[in-house]
Subunit: 134 residues, 2 copies
């Protein structure tokens, strides 16, 4: 009985729709707050997939903890973010996409202006995978 | 020398940009003319990837000829297309996405209203893969 409040909270917690998740993700990414987006919207066993493996990032990163680490690593490589633009999302039933443009100066590589197509899969109100296309 | 005209035509043939390919694909799909889109815009070795394998379609279809066959098979299953809506595309450097909504009556399965996120990869002015997400 001591946990009945929590039990009810769990039972009645509203599962976010794909539209709601897409809107929240775009909102947070526009603010550059990728970490909140990941902690709030990603499943514990989510997967992050790069266009290709590089010396910096593996092709696939599995698990929210490793995805957060990947984010910290990226942040540590950034000298200055000049522009960050995120499109409105295109939303299907259990997936959505948005483009993200970054004009950024990296500590090692210098300034680059890049756009990626970001595709997300959703299950049970959480993002289960993100995949980036150049 | 006899082929010099053809040689020049090949050399100077303009490679379509990703923006141009995306606009043309969306235009043709809105008319329901998927076959022209595939013949005109897809690479010979293009791949088509479904969300999952089904009794009707394999997870992956390889090669333009097989993709055209897949289209004919789908067409043969359709009783009536009530609505076909294709979004404007989101375009990155070598990829783009659009959502496609079909309200369609299938001969076996009856009427269904479905939306898919369609993601395309581009190389050398041709679509090299299409992937559908539900």
């Amino acid at each position: 009985m001591i946990n009945s409040g929590r039990f009810l909270a769990v039972v009645f917690k509203k599962v976010m729709t794909t539209n709601e998740i897409a809107a929240r993700l775009v909102d947070l990414c526009r603010k550059g707050d990728f970490e909140t987006a990941q902690k709030e919207l990603f499943a514990e066993d989510a997967i992050s997939i790069e266009p290709y493996a590089s010396p910096v990032f593996e092709k696939e990163t599995k698990g929210l903890d490793k995805i957060l680490e990947k984010g910290h690593k990226f942040d540590s490589m950034v000298q200055e973010m000049h522009t960050l633009e995120v499109s409105d999302p295109l939303v299907a039933a259990n997936s959505f996409a948005a483009t993200m443009r970054m004009d950024v100066t990296m500590k090692e590589k210098g300034r680059m202006d890049m756009a990626e197509l970001c595709v997300y899969k959703v299950k049970d109100g959480k993002i289960t995978s993100e995949e980036f296309f150049i």
